[in-house]
Symmetry: C2
Subunit: 162 residues, 2 copies
DNA sequence: GCATGATGATCAGCATCGCTGATCATCCGC
DNA sequence: GCGGATGATCAGCGATGCTGATCATCATGC
């Protein structure tokens, strides 16, 4: 599922209580792909945030940790470019990650202006937890779609994301 | 396109300058449907907001106006249920719409607690403008997908939106 | 070398949105 | 009628995004 998506994702959103009855979306709006994407995001984010909360994990952390694990230490700028998050917002995220000891700023050996942000052991553990949640949700989300259909969906979302 | 999506949509988001070079999203994150949806939402919202701004239209207005046009006057609660927007947020939206004279609150003839929110003539004109933008974007977004593929995409997004 | 412009990180301040919890008026079922 | 639901509102908080400025440092051209 949405292992994290800070930025477009770290937005406070109504936590549709999952069990609660939800009125179907009006057709005059679901005609629009953008509306559908917005509401899909709203719901997916809600679910993911809810799950994260159970494990005392903050949503915005997940994407950054994932990236640090995958690519190794990198500067805040680079994180921002890859995740499409504003540089000033990234400052706050890294602040939070450091505060929770999930990542740390090291001095960049070649560039004294920049930091290298690095994931910590605690960060790795949190990432493992979050990844399990994400994998489980990913498996459930498109359970009614065949593999060829999923490929189309993925291609469509990649196109829409630019 | 996304004729409006207040709520999950009315969120300030980085306005990817469209022309600007965008780094491709890392594969370790695009594996996750939720991440893709988040980033798709980020981009679509940015584009729509940008277009709306050119015509001095506010994004959150569009969905509400569309609904009022389609279904006629309704209470704020009902608007909120259909659009999945929090009731207290809806108060602010309707305040803004009234301020811009795009909608107005009428007394509900059968329920003195509630209002009937009604679209104005000015609101209708704004809606026309926004609809044109939305239709144009809708036509462009999935231009590379066939009709059967679009049906799958639509069904997937409806599923994800719940 | 050195001036100049670009880049990385940060901050203050503002705007938007969502939510909690409270309040008040009104409706509805018993 | 009475008590519990419901509609609208508000204050206050938290999270996010952005602008524009600052400061340090890098890199380029001369």
């Amino acid at each position: 599922m949405l292992i994290i998506m800070p930025s477009a994702a770290c937005v406070p959103m109504p936590l549709l209580p999952l069990g609660a009855p939800v009125e179907p979306l009006p057709e005059c709006l679901t005609r629009y792909t953008g509306f559908l994407v917005a509401k899909a995001h709203q719901r997916l984010f809600s679910i993911f945030a809810e799950e994260c909360r159970k494990h005392a994990v903050e949503v915005p952390h997940a994407g950054i940790l994932h990236l640090l694990q995958e690519f190794g230490p990198m500067s805040q700028q680079e994180l921002g470019r890859k995740l499409r998050i504003d540089r000033t917002t990234m400052v706050k995220f890294i602040d939070a990650l450091e505060k929770h000891k999930l990542a740390r700023r090291k001095n960049h050996p070649q560039d004294r202006r920049a930091y290298l942000v690095e994931i910590t052991d605690a960060g790795g553990k949190v990432l493992t937890t979050v990844s399990k949640i994400a994998e489980r949700m990913e498996a459930e989300l498109l359970v009614r779609f065949t593999e060829p259909e999923r490929r189309i969906i993925r291609r469509a979302l990649l196109t829409l994301a630019g």
